[in-house]
Structures are given as C-alpha cells and as structure tokens.
C-alpha cells in the first residue's frame, strides 16, 4: 500500500481511538420548535400519508393518545437544528454562488470531533426503538452520541469512514422516547483533491 493510501486511513485514527466514548456534551440538544400541527401536516404531505391520528385530536384521544401524535419516524425532524437564529452575527451564505452551502450544518451529526475534514456525507443505515410517538406541544432533544464503530473505507464515491453511533432522544421533561443507532459515511469524493 502506498504512503498516500495509508495517510488517509491514518487520519481517522484519532476518531477510532474514541470508539466506546460519548463524543458530545452530556446535555441533550433540543430542536428549535415544539411539535406543531402545521409541521406535522407538512411532514405528511410529500408522503400522501392519510392518518387521522396525525391531524384530529378527537380521533387521537379516542385511541389513547393525549393529543394529535406525530408519525414515529418524524421525531428526527423535530431535533434538527435551525439554519439561522436571531443574533447570528455571520451571514448564512458566504456568497451568491448557486451551490454555496450554509455555514451551519443542517444535520449536526455530520460533525465529529477528531475526524479529518470531509465534504461528503450520507446515511447508510438506521435502527430505531420507539417508546412512543411525540404529540403536539412536546419538544425533543438528542442526547450525546456514543461512538460505536469507525471503519475507514474507500468506496465507489470516495475515501472516508463508515461511522456508527447510538443515542437517546428525550422530551423536554426528560422522558426517553426513542433510541437510535445510525451509520453514516463521511468522505471526500473522488477527484475532490481531498484525502
């Protein structure tokens, strides 16, 4: 294996050394908004998902819920951070190029302390254990990520690492409603000039 080939793998060693550790501060990171009827309606729209539990409080209560419930898998939407917040002293976009991205990550989970710089990311797998769905008015936060695996690998799209982590999602009252294990691939696309 050439030096170049080993260098990009070696760059992942500091993160690999943290397998088993929590890589975020211990406090949950809450999404910016409580679960709202309009947000649930918009979530259902591209799915053409017709279920009265997600729009009609009387139906939801008749089936044992305290109010309209969000779809179980919508929980992640209500954790994602805002793209802009009052008080930001930095413009969201640095210039007017069509593909310029906001400085703030819209996902948050694509940033790992001690990982080498990468420009590409996609999810490769998820497992979710649900205690219950969210209902209107609740906020949800993501607890710290525990690093489960970090596996450097060159793929068809680039060089990077498959990273597996797990975390708990909690309501504003601290009730655990979901446990997530997710795997993402962080990479630099072939031809990008990076690792």
């Amino acid at each position: 294996m050439s030096t170049l080939n080993t260098d990009w793998r070696a760059a992942w060693e500091p993160l690999r050394a943290r397998v088993g550790e929590l890589v975020d501060p211990p406090e949950p990171r809450f999404g910016p908004d409580a679960v709202e009827l309009g947000a649930v309606r918009r979530w259902l729209e591209p799915l053409e998902f017709d279920c009265a539990l997600h729009r009609d409080a009387d139906v939801a209560r008749a089936h044992g819920w305290p109010d309209v419930i969000a779809p179980y898998t919508a929980v992640w939407t209500f954790v994602l951070p805002a793209m802009w917040e009052p008080g930001d002293d930095r413009p969201t976009y640095a210039d007017a190029e069509p593909d310029t991205q906001p400085w703030r990550s819209g996902i948050g989970d694509d940033i790992f302390p001690d990982a080498p710089p990468t420009t590409g990311m996609f999810g490769t797998g998820v497992s979710m254990e649900f205690a219950r769905p969210l209902h209107l008015g609740e906020r949800v936060g993501a607890g710290p990520r525990r690093l489960v695996r970090c596996e450097p690998k060159e793929t068809r799209v680039g060089r990077g690492a498959f990273i597996t982590f797990d975390r708990h999602l909690v309501t504003g009252e601290g009730e655990e409603i979901c446990r997530v294990e997710a795997q993402i691939y962080l990479y630099n696309p072939h031809g990008s000039g990076h690792g």
Binding site: D50, Y72, T73, L80, G125, V126, M128, E129, F130, G158
Partner: protein
C-alpha cells in the same frame, strides 16, 4: 383507513398492500422542507452528482416515512410501531425513479402480554432493493 386489523387474523406470509412513490424533483423538494433535511444531495442534482451519486436522491426521513405510511395502513389506528430495525440504505433512491415499498409478515408472538407482529420491509426500484430489507415490530389489538 379501513377496518381495524386484529392480531388473531394475521398470518406469517401475509403481504402488506405497500405503496408506490414517483420520486419527482417536486416531491424531493417538498420532503426537504417537510423533514428539514436540507442537505444539498437531496434537492440539488448537480451537487449530488459532484458528491459521487447518480443524481439527487431521497433523504432518510422521506424513505423512513414511506415505510411508516405502509406500516400505519397495515396496523390501523389501534396499532403501534415499536421498532424499525435494519433500515439499510443500500443504494441511492434517486430522482426520476418509481420507488415501491413492499412488506410481508415474518413473525407473530405474544410477548409479556403484548400481541406483536414482525414485518419485513424493503424499498424497490426497478426490481432492485434500494432500502432494506429491514424489520419492523408492531402491535395490533
């Protein structure tokens, strides 16, 4: 949503009705806004191609939502979803494709007094699995 399905009426091998989703640019853009996953790979074709993908592709929230819709239509208003496991994004589910979610009952049991059904799910495009196969654990009355 039709008549409530009951655990006693479920048999291993039963197939779910499933659902098909034409993945237009419009749907993917709606999904980006709805799920708040604004990663450019899911709404910007040029950006997605530069990242090594064949084109912009459906985000995880949209793809999981497709599974949940199919599950909800099966379990009805009285059913609940306890888990979705092995939701493996095996291939990019790209714009311009017709994605179909299929499911089949692969197990049923009473555990701690709770009637459970295990369902295997997959997302298929042109006969190729792009997501899954994974398994959902649901309850039925």
């Amino acid at each position: 949503m039709g008549e409530q399905r009951r655990w006693a009426d479920v048999a291993i091998g039963d197939r779910l009705a499933g659902a098909s989703f034409p993945l237009t640019v419009h749907r993917l853009v709606m999904a980006a806004g709805a799920t708040r996953d604004f990663s450019a790979i899911h709404h910007n074709d040029r950006y997605a191609r530069a990242s090594g993908a064949p084109g912009m592709y459906a985000n995880t929230g949209l793809l999981m939502g497709m599974w949940e819709r199919v599950l909800r239509e099966y379990v009805g208003l009285d059913g609940t979803i306890r888990a979705i496991r092995g939701f493996r994004l095996a291939r990019f589910t790209v714009v311009g494709s017709l994605a179909r979610v299929e499911g089949e009952v692969v197990g049923k049991e009473i555990r701690d007094g709770v009637p459970l059904v295990e369902i295997e799910l997959r997302t298929v495009v042109d006969g190729t699995v792009t997501v899954g196969p994974g398994r959902a654990e649901v309850t039925l009355p």
